[in-house]
């Protein structure tokens, strides 16, 4: 009954009054920013990240988890009510959710999203609690070569799951890796790419990069074309679904949870793939496939559950291996490192309260979402009607304070402006920011493990293919690369992403 004991420990940490309060604040703030049109979960978390740094590690990560769920739910709300998904994972929800809203079933769509997410979140939380500890024992056997190969796999997977050109996504990964190397070389102390600026000797600030590339670039994109939005506020019917609707929901939610849980573990952004996969599955097995795209309940219930389950299980690679599976997890890892926690297999043994506290707080965050967001939906909808030009000066002020508060380094603020420009340029050139962020976070780790592996093998590069785990991982990586470049798969992949854009 180790599991129950551990979960009990987790809940005792997470349900302390202070931590519950931080979780609640996180959920509210996350929804508040996440509900703003055009701002996705990643951008929301990037902007709110600095606020959590003032807290102690456990509370800060719990608050961050709250922000994450709030942001995700906020994103679904925007997708359903104004057909403006902030992120590719809620793009699928927008297809049928918005149609439901137009038919006057916005309330049902919102409730379906919340209930599906909550169920999926509950199941996935248990999965994390069950599978994370045994995986850490495997992870402890990982040497430098295995870590290197695993990270290469994660990066390649993130490329495969990104929108658009594979070549450009690969280039973004490499650019991210190079940006991650800025600063002092850990072995020799030689400064690299700092242009002689000593303030960058500790590397480029991770928060500055995330806020710039995601947050500020989003604001600029929204300023391209200022127009009024059509908000489906009048059409919010009763919130609670009827018995008939609940019955229709069961199947999609269960299947979505299963699909999402499995795909979420994959490194490289499985949660995004999960909502697409679930939508395709529901459409295939539905008795009325013609309803999809015109407001099918299953088209909201399935993807939303899959998305949330995937989001939850993507904590598994993070907590056990210290490898982020997607940009959001990359932000989490950044937050952990700033708090002085080195994510990886040792966290579970050295800081069990932290480890299990985070797992328990995931569930509490989910619960708060249902309890808080459904009754407050009227308030969030009002927020959608606040004009954008009022919001972005506020967001800019928050970003400036947030980035500066991390290290009181004014050069971080200059970096924010630079990365904002870079992020906007990238979006104009149709390059995805997510692989860049993953590359940036993994850059130093990748180099360190490469160097260590080569020293351990006395300069023999075959170490990566003679060690079985490492060889398997590299083989999988090669397979993914080949698949992505195969003409048929490529066409199929383009179709999937085009469908979501429509």
């Amino acid at each position: 009954m180790d599991l129950l004991n551990n979960l009990a420990l987790g809940f005792s940490v997470a349900s302390s009054l202070a931590n519950m309060a931080f979780c609640l604040i996180g959920v509210i703030l996350g929804t508040l920013i996440g509900v703003l049109p055009g701002i996705g979960a990643t951008a929301t978390i990037a902007m709110l990240l600095p606020i959590t740094f003032q807290l102690e590690p456990v509370s800060s990560l719990i608050m961050l988890a709250g922000i994450y769920y709030g942001a995700q739910y906020g994103g679904s709300t925007t997708a359903i009510l104004i057909n403006m998904p902030g992120e590719s994972s809620s793009a699928v929800t927008a297809i049928d959710g918005y149609q439901m809203a137009r038919k006057g079933r916005a309330g049902t769509a919102l409730a379906t999203a919340a209930i599906g997410s909550f169920f999926a979140g509950t199941v996935a939380t248990f999965l994390v609690a069950i599978f994370a500890p045994p995986l850490t024992t495997i992870a402890l056997k990982f040497g430098a070569a295995e870590y290197f190969s695993l990270m290469v796999m994660g990066l390649v997977m993130s490329v495969a799951l990104a929108h658009g050109s594979v070549l450009k996504a690969l280039a973004m990964v490499v650019l991210g890796l190079l940006l991650g190397l800025v600063g002092t070389d850990i072995y020799t102390g030689a400064p690299r790419f700092t242009l002689g600026i000593t303030q960058y000797a500790d590397g480029l600030n991770f928060v500055a990069l995330a806020v710039g590339v995601f947050g500020i670039a989003e604001i600029l994109r929204n300023l391209e074309d200022e127009h009024d939005r059509e908000v489906m506020t009048k059409n919010i019917n009763r919130l609670f679904p009827t018995r008939e609707e609940l019955r229709q929901m069961v199947g999609p939610v269960l299947r979505g949870t299963a699909v999402g849980s499995v795909l979420g573990i994959l490194p490289g952004g499985g949660a995004i793939l999960a909502s697409f996969a679930s939508y395709t599955v529901e459409k295939k097995i539905s008795k009325h496939p013609e309803e999809f795209g015109k407001g099918a309940l299953a088209g909201v219930a399935g993807p939303e559950s899959a998305n949330n389950a995937g989001a939850q299980t993507s904590f598994i690679p993070l907590l056990t291996l210290g490898i982020p599976a997607n940009p959001v997890m990359a932000l989490m890892i950044g937050a952990m490192i700033i708090q002085g926690i080195v994510p990886g297999p040792n966290v579970v043994t050295e800081q069990p309260a932290l480890f299990w506290g985070i797992i328990a707080s995931m569930w509490i965050g989910n619960l708060m979402l249902v309890v808080l967001n459904l009754p407050l939906i009227g308030l969030w909808v009002k927020l959608l009607t606040v004009p954008y030009y009022i919001l972005f000066p506020i967001i800019m002020a928050m970003c400036s304070i947030g980035v500066y508060s991390v290290a009181s380094n004014t050069f971080d603020l200059y970096a924010v402006a630079f990365f904002g420009l870079l992020g906007y340029l990238m979006s104009k050139l149709r390059c995805e920011p997510a692989p860049l962020l993953l590359g940036f976070v993994l850059g130093p780790l990748l180099e360190e493990n490469l160097r260590r592996a080569m020293i351990l093998s006395r300069g023999d590069p075959t170490t990566f293919i003679t060690r079985p785990i490492s060889a398997t991982l590299l083989l999988l990586t090669a397979a993914v690369l080949v698949l992505v470049f195969l003409p048929q798969i490529r066409k199929r992949r383009d179709e999937v992403f085009t469908e979501s854009d429509a």
Binding site: K168, L170, L181, Y388, F392, P393, M396, A397, V416, G459
Partner: protein, 153 residues
């Protein structure tokens, strides 16, 4: 205009990627490369720069023979006012102090929209400054000087 189709966006992307690769490669020149057994600080960056150049070249070459997609509008006004806001905050937060620096940064950012009237922008900046000062300086107790040395007479 030439008859052959080409994707101008990708031509630009490829060229910029190659330029970035050259910049990083040039910066690694001063670093010790080392051997694959004992890699110097320049080894990994050098490999990455080469890879980036190669990818940039491929993006560039593949741009020919393909139709261009519309580039869309560019948020010039947004860039002109949004990007300087954090820079200005950074330049003045030590000297002027937190409160005036934030007020001016918010005021600059507010100019990015054509829809916000000047007076409303001013009011908004005042509200943002007061709220942030209360939340971050008094509430969270962040160690910023509210008014800096430039304002002490």
């Amino acid at each position: 205009m030439s008859a052959k189709p080409k994707d101008r966006t990708d031509i630009a992307t490829g060229l910029l990627l190659m330029a970035a690769a050259v910049f990083f490669g040039w910066q690694t020149m001063g670093l010790e490369i080392g051997t694959s057994l004992r890699m110097g600080p320049g080894y990994f960056p050098m490999v990455l720069s080469g890879l980036l150049f190669l990818l940039g070249l491929l993006v560039f070459l593949k741009a020919f023979g393909r139709e261009d997609e519309p580039f869309g509008k560019v948020a010039w006004r947004g860039m002109a006012f949004i990007l300087p806001a954090p820079v200005f905050f950074g330049l003045t937060v030590r000297g002027l102090g937190f409160v005036p620096a934030l007020f001016l940064a918010a005021l600059i950012a507010a100019q990015a929209s054509t829809r916000l009237k000047p007076l409303h922008g001013l009011v908004l900046a005042v509200i943002v400054t007061i709220a942030s000062t209360l939340i971050f300086s008094y509430g969270l107790g962040l160690p910023f000087r509210r008014f800096g040395p430039w304002l002490q007479f």
